[in-house]
Protein backbone atom coordinates (compact mmCIF):
# COMPACT_ATOMS: atom_id res chain seq x y z
CA UNK A 1 0.00 0.00 0.00
CA UNK A 2 1.16 3.53 -0.78
CA UNK A 3 0.07 7.04 0.19
CA UNK A 4 1.50 10.44 -0.77
CA UNK A 5 1.05 14.11 -0.05
CA UNK A 6 2.78 17.24 -1.30
CA UNK A 7 2.74 20.62 0.40
CA UNK A 8 4.22 24.00 -0.43
CA UNK A 9 3.80 26.55 2.34
CA UNK A 10 4.45 27.45 5.96
CA UNK A 11 3.36 26.14 9.35
CA UNK A 12 -0.29 26.48 8.28
CA UNK A 13 0.20 23.26 6.30
CA UNK A 14 0.92 21.22 9.46
CA UNK A 15 -2.72 20.38 10.32
CA UNK A 16 -3.22 18.88 6.84
CA UNK A 17 0.00 16.88 7.21
CA UNK A 18 -0.98 15.58 10.64
CA UNK A 19 -4.38 14.59 9.27
CA UNK A 20 -2.65 12.76 6.41
CA UNK A 21 -0.46 10.89 8.90
CA UNK A 22 -3.39 9.93 11.10
CA UNK A 23 -5.58 8.80 8.22
CA UNK A 24 -2.76 6.89 6.53
CA UNK A 25 -1.88 5.13 9.80
CA UNK A 26 -5.51 3.98 10.03
CA UNK A 27 -5.72 2.91 6.37
CA UNK A 28 -2.42 1.03 6.68
CA UNK A 29 -3.66 -0.61 9.93
CA UNK A 30 -0.38 0.21 11.66
CA UNK A 31 0.22 -1.05 15.22
CA UNK A 32 -0.04 1.75 17.84
CA UNK A 33 3.70 2.17 18.31
CA UNK A 34 4.32 2.30 14.55
CA UNK A 35 1.49 4.79 14.01
CA UNK A 36 3.05 6.95 16.72
CA UNK A 37 6.50 6.77 15.12
CA UNK A 38 4.94 7.67 11.77
CA UNK A 39 3.04 10.72 13.05
CA UNK A 40 6.04 11.87 15.08
CA UNK A 41 8.42 11.64 12.12
CA UNK A 42 6.09 13.59 9.85
CA UNK A 43 5.56 16.36 12.39
CA UNK A 44 9.16 16.70 13.56
CA UNK A 45 10.81 16.53 10.14
CA UNK A 46 8.33 18.81 8.39
CA UNK A 47 8.31 21.35 11.24
CA UNK A 48 12.10 21.52 11.06
CA UNK A 49 12.08 21.87 7.27
CA UNK A 50 9.53 24.68 7.32
CA UNK A 51 10.87 26.55 10.36
CA UNK A 52 14.62 26.18 9.90
CA UNK A 53 15.38 24.58 6.54
CA UNK A 54 13.43 26.93 4.30
CA UNK A 55 13.10 30.08 6.37
CA UNK A 56 10.28 32.40 5.40
CA UNK A 57 10.67 32.96 1.70
CA UNK A 58 9.76 31.52 -1.68
CA UNK A 59 8.59 28.05 -2.59
CA UNK A 60 8.82 25.50 0.18
CA UNK A 61 7.99 22.20 -1.49
CA UNK A 62 7.90 19.06 0.65
CA UNK A 63 6.75 15.76 -0.78
CA UNK A 64 6.04 12.71 1.32
CA UNK A 65 5.66 9.19 0.03
CA UNK A 66 4.87 6.28 2.30
CA UNK A 67 4.83 2.57 1.65
CA UNK A 68 3.51 -0.17 3.87
CA UNK A 69 4.73 -3.72 3.30
CA UNK A 70 4.55 -6.78 5.59
CA UNK A 71 5.99 -5.62 8.91
CA UNK A 72 7.65 -2.56 7.38
CA UNK A 73 6.74 1.10 6.95
CA UNK A 74 8.92 3.29 4.71
CA UNK A 75 8.60 7.09 4.76
CA UNK A 76 10.37 9.10 2.07
CA UNK A 77 10.47 12.89 2.45
CA UNK A 78 11.92 15.11 -0.29
CA UNK A 79 12.58 18.85 -0.04
CA UNK A 80 14.70 21.61 -1.57
CA UNK A 81 15.72 23.44 1.61
CA UNK A 82 19.23 24.05 2.95
CA UNK A 83 20.73 20.54 3.25
CA UNK A 84 20.80 19.27 6.81
CA UNK A 85 21.35 15.66 7.76
CA UNK A 86 18.95 14.98 10.69
CA UNK A 87 21.11 12.03 11.76
CA UNK A 88 23.71 14.54 12.98
CA UNK A 89 21.31 16.06 15.57
CA UNK A 90 22.89 15.60 19.01
CA UNK A 91 21.12 13.89 21.91
CA UNK A 92 19.30 16.50 24.00
CA UNK A 93 20.45 17.30 27.51
CA UNK A 94 17.22 18.01 29.37
CA UNK A 95 19.18 19.51 32.28
CA UNK A 96 20.31 22.36 30.02
CA UNK A 97 17.85 25.28 30.22
CA UNK A 98 15.42 25.30 27.29
CA UNK A 99 16.53 28.75 26.19
CA UNK A 100 20.10 27.53 25.70
CA UNK A 101 19.27 24.50 23.61
CA UNK A 102 19.58 24.31 19.86
CA UNK A 103 16.13 24.55 18.24
CA UNK A 104 14.69 21.34 16.90
CA UNK A 105 17.18 19.11 18.68
CA UNK A 106 14.67 17.22 20.79
CA UNK A 107 12.40 16.37 17.86
CA UNK A 108 15.15 15.09 15.59
CA UNK A 109 16.64 13.06 18.42
CA UNK A 110 13.21 11.46 18.95
CA UNK A 111 12.95 10.59 15.25
CA UNK A 112 16.45 9.07 15.18
CA UNK A 113 15.62 7.04 18.29
CA UNK A 114 12.18 5.83 17.32
CA UNK A 115 12.84 4.79 13.69
CA UNK A 116 14.80 1.64 12.84
CA UNK A 117 16.77 3.32 10.08
CA UNK A 118 17.23 6.87 8.82
CA UNK A 119 19.07 7.63 5.55
CA UNK A 120 19.71 11.01 4.03
CA UNK A 121 21.30 12.45 0.93
CA UNK A 122 21.36 15.66 -1.08
CA UNK A 123 21.82 15.56 -4.83
CA UNK A 124 23.16 18.00 -7.40
CA UNK A 125 19.65 19.03 -8.49
CA UNK A 126 19.01 20.63 -5.09
CA UNK A 127 16.68 17.94 -3.78
CA UNK A 128 17.27 16.38 -0.37
CA UNK A 129 15.90 12.91 0.29
CA UNK A 130 15.24 11.42 3.72
CA UNK A 131 14.21 7.78 3.97
CA UNK A 132 13.03 6.39 7.30
CA UNK A 133 12.04 2.80 7.99
CA UNK A 134 10.12 1.31 10.90
CA UNK A 135 9.80 -2.47 11.23
CA UNK A 136 7.63 -4.65 13.43
CA UNK A 137 6.84 -8.29 13.93
CA UNK A 138 3.71 -8.98 11.88
CA UNK A 139 2.22 -12.44 12.07
Amino acid sequence: MDASIRIDGGMETLPALMQFAEQTAATFRLPDDVAYAFQLSIEEICTNLIKYGYGDTGHRPVSIHTNRAAGQLTIKIRDRSTPFDPRTAPAPDLSVPLSERAPGGLGLYLVNSIMDSVDYHSDATGWNTLVMVKRWDER
Partner: protein, 114 residues
Protein backbone atom coordinates in the same frame (compact mmCIF):
# COMPACT_ATOMS: atom_id res chain seq x y z
CA UNK B 1 -10.73 27.09 20.79
CA UNK B 2 -12.30 24.46 23.04
CA UNK B 3 -10.76 23.53 26.37
CA UNK B 4 -7.95 21.02 25.96
CA UNK B 5 -8.36 19.87 29.56
CA UNK B 6 -10.91 20.09 32.36
CA UNK B 7 -9.96 21.15 35.83
CA UNK B 8 -11.01 20.12 39.34
CA UNK B 9 -9.65 20.52 42.85
CA UNK B 10 -8.63 17.63 45.10
CA UNK B 11 -7.78 19.37 48.36
CA UNK B 12 -4.72 21.52 47.69
CA UNK B 13 -4.05 19.83 44.36
CA UNK B 14 -5.50 20.85 41.00
CA UNK B 15 -6.13 17.96 38.64
CA UNK B 16 -6.10 18.77 34.94
CA UNK B 17 -7.74 16.05 32.88
CA UNK B 18 -6.58 16.21 29.29
CA UNK B 19 -9.49 15.89 26.88
CA UNK B 20 -7.44 16.26 23.70
CA UNK B 21 -5.85 13.08 22.33
CA UNK B 22 -2.84 15.01 21.04
CA UNK B 23 -0.42 17.76 22.06
CA UNK B 24 1.56 18.73 19.00
CA UNK B 25 2.48 21.67 16.78
CA UNK B 26 -1.15 22.17 15.77
CA UNK B 27 -2.44 22.90 19.30
CA UNK B 28 0.57 23.45 21.57
CA UNK B 29 0.20 27.26 21.67
CA UNK B 30 -3.39 26.89 22.89
CA UNK B 31 -2.34 24.20 25.41
CA UNK B 32 0.30 26.56 26.81
CA UNK B 33 -2.17 29.43 26.98
CA UNK B 34 -4.65 27.33 28.96
CA UNK B 35 -1.93 26.08 31.34
CA UNK B 36 -0.70 29.64 31.87
CA UNK B 37 -4.24 30.60 32.83
CA UNK B 38 -4.20 27.92 35.58
CA UNK B 39 -0.78 29.07 36.83
CA UNK B 40 -1.92 32.71 36.80
CA UNK B 41 -4.57 31.71 39.36
CA UNK B 42 -1.65 30.65 41.59
CA UNK B 43 -2.51 26.99 41.28
CA UNK B 44 0.94 25.45 41.43
CA UNK B 45 0.30 21.92 42.72
CA UNK B 46 -0.78 20.33 39.49
CA UNK B 47 -1.50 16.80 38.30
CA UNK B 48 -1.94 16.36 34.56
CA UNK B 49 -4.03 13.29 33.75
CA UNK B 50 -2.72 11.96 30.41
CA UNK B 51 -5.10 9.04 30.11
CA UNK B 52 -6.61 10.39 26.86
CA UNK B 53 -3.27 11.29 25.30
CA UNK B 54 -2.44 9.27 22.21
CA UNK B 55 0.22 11.50 20.68
CA UNK B 56 2.70 14.08 21.95
CA UNK B 57 5.51 15.55 19.85
CA UNK B 58 8.63 17.42 20.93
CA UNK B 59 6.61 20.67 20.88
CA UNK B 60 4.27 19.18 23.50
CA UNK B 61 7.15 17.79 25.59
CA UNK B 62 8.76 21.24 25.59
CA UNK B 63 5.55 22.87 26.81
CA UNK B 64 5.32 20.34 29.67
CA UNK B 65 8.90 21.19 30.67
CA UNK B 66 8.15 24.92 30.64
CA UNK B 67 4.94 24.51 32.65
CA UNK B 68 6.67 22.32 35.25
CA UNK B 69 9.35 24.97 35.61
CA UNK B 70 6.69 27.66 36.18
CA UNK B 71 4.85 25.49 38.74
CA UNK B 72 8.11 24.90 40.62
CA UNK B 73 8.90 28.62 40.65
CA UNK B 74 5.55 29.03 42.43
CA UNK B 75 6.52 26.45 45.06
CA UNK B 76 4.58 23.53 43.56
CA UNK B 77 5.10 21.03 40.78
CA UNK B 78 3.50 19.61 37.64
CA UNK B 79 3.21 15.84 37.98
CA UNK B 80 2.10 13.45 35.27
CA UNK B 81 -0.32 10.56 35.62
CA UNK B 82 -2.05 7.87 33.58
CA UNK B 83 0.05 7.97 30.39
CA UNK B 84 -0.40 5.04 27.99
CA UNK B 85 2.44 2.58 27.45
CA UNK B 86 3.26 4.15 24.08
CA UNK B 87 3.49 7.67 25.51
CA UNK B 88 5.57 6.42 28.45
CA UNK B 89 8.06 4.85 26.05
CA UNK B 90 8.48 8.26 24.39
CA UNK B 91 8.97 9.86 27.83
CA UNK B 92 11.72 7.32 28.54
CA UNK B 93 13.43 7.99 25.19
CA UNK B 94 14.00 11.64 26.07
CA UNK B 95 14.68 11.18 29.79
CA UNK B 96 11.45 12.79 31.05
CA UNK B 97 11.59 10.56 34.14
CA UNK B 98 14.66 12.54 35.29
CA UNK B 99 12.70 15.79 35.20
CA UNK B 100 9.13 14.77 36.05
CA UNK B 101 7.51 12.65 38.68
CA UNK B 102 5.38 10.26 36.65
CA UNK B 103 2.63 8.14 38.22
CA UNK B 104 0.50 5.24 37.04
CA UNK B 105 -2.73 6.94 38.07
CA UNK B 106 -4.15 10.22 39.34
CA UNK B 107 -4.72 9.19 43.02
CA UNK B 108 -1.04 8.23 43.36
CA UNK B 109 0.03 11.58 41.86
CA UNK B 110 -2.30 13.50 44.19
CA UNK B 111 -1.05 11.56 47.24
CA UNK B 112 2.56 12.38 46.30
CA UNK B 113 1.94 16.03 47.27
CA UNK B 114 1.23 15.10 50.92
Amino acid sequence: MTALFSEHAEGQVTVLTLSSDNIDTTNVAEFERQLEHVLAEEKYRLVLDLNQLGFISSAGLRSLLLSAKAARRGGGDLRLAGATATVRRVFLLVGMQDIFRIFDDVPAAIASFD
